[in-house]
Symmetry: C2
């Protein structure tokens, strides 16, 4: 199956409402707790999604179409979520993510990338040459990697409470796998 932009957009446009339905109004024992150490809370993950919406996906897509591989993408600040989180509540972050995502997708649809556009290349600071279609597929996969992380982080909070069932629950065996979020 070739890369299909419509399938990517179908997923990207659903993530904000799905996260709002899952997390909106949920007690803080689920959303303001982490997996220990410097791992992220659910709220931090949502702030990271806001950050990426403003500084990663569409800015890089525009750079590929406008400048190709001439300059590498600006590296994404791994702590940049802190600038977007500030004193905001999770409800505010979820709303901001939904608005930012809708705006990103309006821009993407307006660009109407052709099949040739999707094969155009940019330069990632660590990965080297990448295509626009790889960037857009990664945008969708990045939503999924953080949904996966959110499920794992929340499950961590009931690790003791489930007692002997822990060994039947796959999410309890997942230690996280991200090299970079």
């Amino acid at each position: 199956m070739g890369y299909e932009l419509d399938n990517t957009i179908a997923l990207l446009e659903r993530t904000p409402a799905s996260l709002s339905a899952l997390l909106g109004g949920l007690p803080e024992c689920w959303t303001e707790t982490n997996e220990g150490g410097s791992s992220w809370t659910v709220s931090t993950v949502v702030a990271h999604l806001v950050h990426c919406e403003y500084e990663d996906w569409m800015p890089r897509a525009r750079q590929i179409l406008q400048a190709g591989e001439a300059e590498p993408f600006a590296p994404l600040d791994r702590e940049g979520h802190a600038r977007y989180k500030g004193g905001k509540t999770l409800a505010q972050l979820l709303d901001e993510f939904a608005r930012a995502r809708a705006k990103s997708l309006d821009e993407l649809r307006a660009l109407k990338p052709t099949a040739q556009d999707l094969e155009r290349r940019g330069r990632h600071p660590a990965l080297g040459s990448v295509t626009l279609s790889e960037l857009l597929a990664t945008w969708a996969a990045h939503d999924l990697t953080h949904l996966h992380q959110i499920a794992r982080t929340m499950a961590h909070q009931v690790r003791e409470a489930v007692g002997p069932w822990a060994r039947f629950l796959g999410v309890m065996q997942c230690a996280g796998h991200s090299e970079a979020g």
Copy 2:
């Protein structure tokens, strides 16, 4: 922190709407594909959630409160999702899950388990003695294990399309961990 029934219910009541927002109307390239071999599609996972709603959680909770450890729980048929899936569309399964979950939670709230009730014990056919609070925490963690699986299964579909980004995406490194779903 002690086990808190309200926190469990808060999560359980949000899962159906979150899954409907994520999966409703999503193209079948995301929902009718699996991770290879006999692994489950997203639709199969939702059918499994329906199955558990009817045959696992509240039936076992009632058995603990009514009969304690006298008899073990009936083992859950690992292929029982097929009976619930039948020829149903994913949209129908999502609706059925939402209705079944709402009914389960109505029953749980009506039971009003006390702190003593939550420490009452039943007998799991494989795990042995378990408490009602462990069962209820597992119900929430089971939602999360399948949300984790859904994210991983969908991400698998773009494993090639993301190109070199795969190594930055934790979900692409997750091979699944469930001993039993």
